[in-house]
């Protein structure tokens, strides 16, 4: 190589153009993960803001919560829709199940930070242990969500008497059970559509997260990261996993509480 190249690499005070430095003091992978997450924040924000806009275009249910009856005339009260938990058929226990789901996801986020912390210390046993806990948390959350969807789709024994335009473009009045993308017993069609799209898109992210967690868990266990000399992959997957938790915090508030 010519002498000038060498001169740039060695003599420059800052060495910005000489290579070997990290912009923003973060590695390439971490930086790209952050910018990917930023774009993902916009996607989820678009979903949640759409929810807010559509919700505001419908009248709110005005009566007392405990007298709530599902209708497509007004927006439902979430605590009256999400009031079931597994093994207690027909019991009215509002929001408890989704509270448990939130607890599980926050705890799996905590075990993820502990895995990242163990990675900083090159402690393979701790990384494997905490990754396993995180993985279990993720799988449990997904199972809960599957149950929640199943319950939402099948609906309550009583259903709701609704007048709506069916899939054959006919105006019909009939008792509707559960939910699909055309009609649902809880509220306007948009309510179930938004439920499926928002929690579904989040669940899709969790599924991807579980796959990534499993790969990282396996690679940490067989010593891939130890041979590589660092546990940065745990950190990058950790960023993604915390993001999934972050989104759930917002979904929980806007879909289930408000």
């Amino acid at each position: 190589m010519s002498a000038t190249t060498t001169a740039i690499a060695t003599s420059s005070k800052r060495g910005v153009w000489g290579g070997g430095n990290e912009p923003l003091k973060a590695s390439y992978g971490k930086l790209m993960m952050w910018f990917f997450l930023l774009s993902d924040i916009f996607t989820f924000a678009a979903f949640l803001i759409t929810y807010a806009a559509i919700r505001m275009s419908y009248p709110a249910y005005a009566g007392p919560s405990d007298k709530f009856i599902g209708s497509n005339e007004y927006w439902p009260v979430p605590e009256m829709v999400f009031d079931a938990i597994p093994f207690f058929h027909g019991a009215h226990i509002p929001l408890l199940f989704v509270g448990i789901m939130t607890f599980i996801l926050i705890m799996s986020s905590v075990t993820m930070v502990l895995a990242v912390e163990a990675g900083h210390r090159y402690d393979r046993n701790d990384v494997v242990k905490w990754m396993l806990w995180t993985l279990l948390g993720g799988i449990t959350f997904l199972s809960c969500q599957a149950w929640e969807w199943g319950h939402f789709i099948h609906g309550t024994p009583g259903g709701s008497l609704l007048t709506y335009v069916n899939e054959n473009a006919r105006l019909v009045t009939e008792t509707v059970f559960g939910a699909n993308l055309t009609v649902n017993e809880y509220g306007p069609a948009a309510f179930a559509q938004l439920f499926f799209f928002i929690t579904g898109f989040h669940g899709f992210h969790v599924t991807i997260g579980v796959v990534l967690l499993f790969i990282a868990f396996y690679q940490a266990a067989v010593g891939v990261y130890e041979r590589r000399g660092h546990y940065e992959m745990i950190e990058k997957i950790g960023l993604y996993w915390h993001f999934v938790d972050l989104v759930w915090v917002f979904v929980f508030t806007f879909f289930y509480l408000i």
Binding site: G99, I106, H230
Partner: protein, 109 residues
């Protein structure tokens, strides 16, 4: 973090208990805030005040997750702001679509 590419075995460093304790403390805060949200959900009447409290507490939780769990506050300031500043665009989107939603409501009902 220093990259020790050619080293085959890594020396395990001892646990920093203060750091681990801090992680659990933040976990406690997150769960506590969620518990408070539950209490408010069942004791307060629905309305702007309750919704404001919910959104405020959600932002507190989001702050803890991003700053502590994702270590955003420890990143270089340029990275910190290049993540935070674009989020300002969302503020306008929220205002615009909330207004849009209430206009549609006025037209329909």
């Amino acid at each position: 973090m220093s990259l020790q590419e050619n080293q085959t075995t890594l020396e395990v460093q001892p646990r920093d208990n203060a750091k681990i304790k801090k992680i659990w403390k933040i976990a406690g805060i997150l769960l506590f805030v969620t518990a408070i949200e539950f209490v408010f959900a069942f004791t307060m009447p629905r309305g702007i005040l309750l919704y404001s409290i919910f959104i405020g507490l959600t932002l507190v939780k989001a702050g803890y997750i991003m700053m502590e769990f994702m270590h955003l506050k420890d990143e270089a300031k340029t990275l910190f702001w290049s993540i935070m500043i674009p989020l300002i665009f969302l503020v306008w989107l929220i205002i615009a679509l909330m207004k849009e939603g209430s206009e549609i409501f006025m037209l329909r009902w």
